[in-house]
Point group: D2
Chain length 294, copies 4
C-alpha cells in the first residue's frame, strides 16, 4: 500500500521508519529537505511537492504542529485534498484545535476524502518503539480502514467518536494530566517541607485516594518509579512546552464549548510561567522544581 | 484491655462498636449524654468526666473535630494527660492541624503519655465496616503497641513517620484528591459540552495518563463506576464540607512550611464557593454540578 | 463627508445617530433589514450591499462583534477593502483579537486603505451620550484624519500606538478591570461576613491602597456610589458576558505574546462560571452575588 | 503623659522617636537589649520587665509581629494586662489575626483595660515621617482617647468599627492591594510583550477603568510615577514577605468568616512562589519581575 506522509519532525521521522519496517511504500514531504534526506536513507521516497505526494498515495498521513499548518497543507489549491485520489484515506495525527479538526473533516467530506483525526500520546519514545496510543475521531468504517496501519505505529487504537473527538479525548485527558502533575508536585513539595519522607508518602498515597498516573507512572520526584524523566534530571520525555500547548488547546476548547475549567486555567498559567523562565524543553514533571523554589 | 474513648460522633460511634465487638472493655465520654447513652446500650460504660475516664484506661482514643477540641480534652488540668495512668497509650484519630498534633506530641512526651496521631480515611462507611485506613505518626514502638487495636477498626495501618506525620500524610494525600476531583470534573464537563460520550472518555482516560482515583474509583459522573455517590444523587459519602476542612488543613500546613500550593488554593476556594452555595452536606464529587452550571 | 457604517447593533445604532446629528451623510449596512430601517427613519441611507456602501464612502466604519465578522466584511471579494475608493479612511471600532486586527491592518496596507483600530469603552450609555473613549492604533497621520470624526462620538480619543495597539490597550485595561472588580467583590464579601460596615470599609479603602476604579466609580455594593448598576439590581451597564469576551481576548493575546497572566486566567474562569449559571446579561459587577453565595 | 511601648523593631523604633519628639515620657521594652539601648540614647527609659513597664504607664502600645506574640505580652501572668493601672489605654498597632485581636479585646474587657486595635499602613517611611494611616477598632470613647496620641504618629486616624475591625479593614484593603498589584503587573507584562509602550498604556489606563492605586501611586514599572520602589531597583518599601503575611491574614479571616476569595488565594500563592524564590525582602511591586520571566 502506498502511503504519503507529511511532517517529518521528532514524531514523524520514527513513525515513517516504522511504516517502512512494516513493508509499506512511503513517500514523504517536508519543508526541510534535510528531514526528507534523512528518511530517504531509510528507504522513503522524497516528493517534490504536496501535489506529487497526493497524486500517488492511497493513504495520506500528516504529523504537524498546528491547526493552521494542517489547514495549509490540506486545504489550499496545491494541497492534499484537491489533488488526492478518489476515496483516499486521510489520517491527521497532529494535535490541533477541535474547531480546526472539524473544519478539516467538513472539507474532507465535500471533496470525497475519508478522514480521521488521530492524535497520539506516548511521545518520541512511543513513536520510536511503535507503542503510541491513538485517539481517533471519524466514521467507524474509516476508523476500520485506518486501524491496520495505525497498529504498525501504536499499541492502543481507540475510537473516541465522530470527527474531532480524537482531538477532544486527547485534550480532555491532558487537561487532567497537567493539573494532576502539578497537584502531585504540590503534595510532594509540602510533604518534603514538613519532613515527611517522599518514599513513605508515595507508598501511602499511591495506595490511597491521591493515586494518579502522574504519581504512580510518572513521578516528579526522582527514584520512586522506574524509567521516568525525574530520574534523569528531567530530560524530556514530554516537554513542558508541549504540555503548555495541550493545555492551551484545552482552554480554547473550553471557550468554544462555554465550559468553565478553573484548575485547567491555573495549570496553564503555571506552565506558562515555567516555560517563560526558560524551561520549555525540560520534561513537564520538572515543574516540581519551580514549586520547590529550586 | 481497658480503653477510654472520647468523641462519639458519626465516626466515633461505629468505632466504639467495633472495639466492643472485638471484646475490649470500653469506657466512653462525650459532651452529649445522648451519644453516651446510645453506646451504653451497646455495652460501653459512660464516664462522668474526662478524669474518671483517664484514671481507668490503659489506652485512650480521641475522635474529635478540631485541634482546639483535642487540646482542650488532653491538655487542661482536668483533661486526659494530667490524669492518665503511667505509660498510657494515646491514639488521636482526629484530623487536625499538623502544628496542633506536634504540640500534643510534645506535651505527651513531657507527661509520660505514649502518643500516636492516627487520622483515618474511609469515612463513616469505613468506620462501620471496620475497613478504615490509618495513617500513623509517632515512635515505632508506640506504633507497634497501637497496631493490634487499630486492626480491629481498619484494614490498612500505615506508619508514616514521626509525631504529626500521620496528619501530614493525610493532608498531602487529600490535597491531591481535592484537586484531582475538580480536574476530573472539569474534563468531563468539557467532554460533555463538546459532545464526547462520557463513557467513551472514561474508557480512554482511565487507561491513559489522565487516570486517577477520583475518576476510576469515585467518578463524579454517574453510572461509570459502581457504588459511588454520583450514582445516588451525590448523597455523601465524603461531604464537601469535610473536603473543604481537609483542604484548609493543607493550606495551613503549606503556610507553616512555607510551601506554595497554587492549585490546592484554588481547589479550596472552589469548594468554599460550592459549600457557600448550600452544598456542604453533598458528596464532594457533586462539585461537578457547579461546573456543569446545574 | 460621506460615511459608510457597517454593524448597526446596540452600539452601532446610537453611533450612527450621533454622526447624523453632527451633519454627516451616512450610508448604513447590516445583515438585519430591520436594523437598517430603524436608522433610515433617522436619516441614514440603507445600502443594498457592502459593495454599494464601499463605492460611495470617503470614510468606512465597522462596529461588529468578532474578528471573523470584521475579516468577512473587509477581506472578501465583495467586501469593503476590494471595493473602496482610493485612500479611503477605515475605522474599525469593534473589539477583536489583536492578531485579527493586525491582519486587517496588513491587508489594508496592501490595498491602499488607511486603517485605524479604534475600540471603545463606555458601553451603550457612552455611545448614546457621545462620550465614548476611543483607544486608537495606527499611523499618526491616519489617526489625525480620524480624530475629528471620532470626536463626534466620544470624549477621549487616545492614540495608543501602531496598528493593533488600540485593541491591545483596551484588552490590557480590561484585564485589570475584570480582576479588580472581583478583588473588590471579594473584599466587600469578606468585610460583610466579618461584620465590618461596607460604608465604613468603602470610606477607608477608597482613600487607601485598595482604591481602584472598580470600587470608587463602579462599586459592586449598592448605595456607595451614584449611578452604578449595583444601585439598580445590577441591570447592565456592561454585561458580564461582554467582560468575559474581553477577558478571553486577553487570554488569547497572552497566549500569542507568551505572557503569563494567572489572575487574568482565574478571573476569566470565574466570569465563565457566573455566565454559565445564567447571568450573562447581568452587569459584570453582579459577580459579587456569586461570591456572597446569593 | 506616660507611655509604655513594647516592640522596638523597624516600625516601633521610629514610632517611639516621634512620641519622644512630641514630648511624651516613654518607657520601652523589647527582648533585644540592643533595641532598647538604641532608644535610650534618644531619651526613652528602658524597662527591665513587662511588669515594670505596665505598672508605670497610663498608655500602653504594642508593635509586634504576630498574634501569638501580642497574646504572650498581654495575657500571661507577668504580662501587661494583669499588671496595668486601672483604666489604662492600650493600643495594639500590630497587624494580626482578627480572631486573636478579638480575643485580646475580650480579655481586656474582663480586666478593665481600654483597648483599641490600630494596625497601620505606610511602612517604615511612614513611621519615620509620622505619616502613618491608623485603622482603628474599638469603642468610640476609647478611640477618642487614643486619637491625640496617634496623631503624633500618623496623618489619618480612622475609626473602622468595633474591636477587631481595625484589623479587618486593613486585611480587606490589602487583599485588594495584593491582587491589584499582580493584575497591574500582568497587564504591563502583556502590554510590553505585545509591543505597546508602557508610558502610553499608563497614560490610557490610569485615566480609564483599569485605574488603581497599585498603578497610579505605586507603579511596578519604573519611571512612570515618582518616588516608588520600582524606580529604585525594587528596594522596599513594603516587602514582599509582608504582603504575603497580610494576604495570609486575609486567607485566615476568609476561612473563619466562611467567605470565598479565589483571587486572593491565587495572589497569596503567587507571592508565596515569589518569596520562596528568595525575594522576600524585595518590594512587593517586584513581583512583576517574576511575571516578566526575569
Amino acid at each position: 500500500m502506498k502511503i504519503g506522509f507529511v511532517g517529518l519532525g521528532h514524531m514523524g521521522n520514527p513513525m515513517v521508519k516504522n511504516l517502512l519496517k512494516a513493508g509499506f511504500d512511503v513517500t514523504v514531504y517536508d519543508k526541510s529537505a534535510e528531514a526528507m534526506q534523512a528518511l530517504a536513507a531509510a528507504g522513503a521516497k522524497p516528493a517534490s511537492s504536496l501535489i506529487e505526494l497526493a497524486k500517488g498515495a492511497e493513504v495520506l498521513i500528516t504529523m504537524l504542529q498546528t491547526g493552521d499548518q494542517v489547514k495549509d497543507v490540506c486545504l489550499k489549491k496545491e494541497g492534499l485534498f484537491e489533488n488526492s485520489l478518489p476515496d483516499v484515506l486521510y489520517i491527521d495525527s497532529s494535535s490541533i484545535e477541535i474547531a480546526a479538526s472539524r473544519e478539516l473533516h467538513h472539507e474532507a467530506g465535500l471533496l470525497g476524502v475519508c478522514m480521521i483525526d488521530a492524535p497520539v500520546s506516548g511521545g518520541v519514545a512511543g513513536a520510536e518503539a511503535g507503542t503510541l496510543t491513538f485517539m481517533v475521531g471519524g466514521e467507524e468504517k474509516v476508523f476500520n480502514r485506518a486501524k491496520p496501519i495505525l497498529e504498525k505505529l501504536g499499541k492502543k487504537i481507540i475510537h473516541a467518536g465522530e470527527g474531532g473527538h480524537g482531538q477532544a479525548a486527547k485534550i480532555c485527558n491532558n487537561l487532567i494530566l497537567g493539573v494532576s502533575m502539578i497537584a502531585v508536585s504540590e503534595a510532594f513539595t509540602l510533604a518534603k517541607k514538613i519532613g515527611l519522607d517522599p518514599k513513605k508518602f508515595f507508598e501511602i498515597s499511591s495506595n490511597a485516594s491521591g493515586q494518579c498516573w502522574a504519581m504512580t507512572k510518572y513521578s516528579p520526584v526522582p527514584d520512586l518509579v522506574e524509567n521516568v524523566p525525574s530520574n534523569n534530571g528531567y530530560k524530556a520525555g514530554f516537554m513542558a512546552k508541549m504540555m503548555l500547548k495541550d493545555l492551551l488547546l484545552g482552554m480554547h476548547a473550553a471557550e468554544n464549548a462555554q465550559a468553565s475549567v478553573p484548575l485547567g486555567a491555573v495549570a496553564t498559567e503555571l506552565y506558562s510561567l515555567f516555560v517563560g523562565q526558560g524551561n520549555g524543553e525540560m520534561d513537564f514533571s520538572g515543574i516540581i522544581k519551580m514549586l520547590m523554589g529550586e
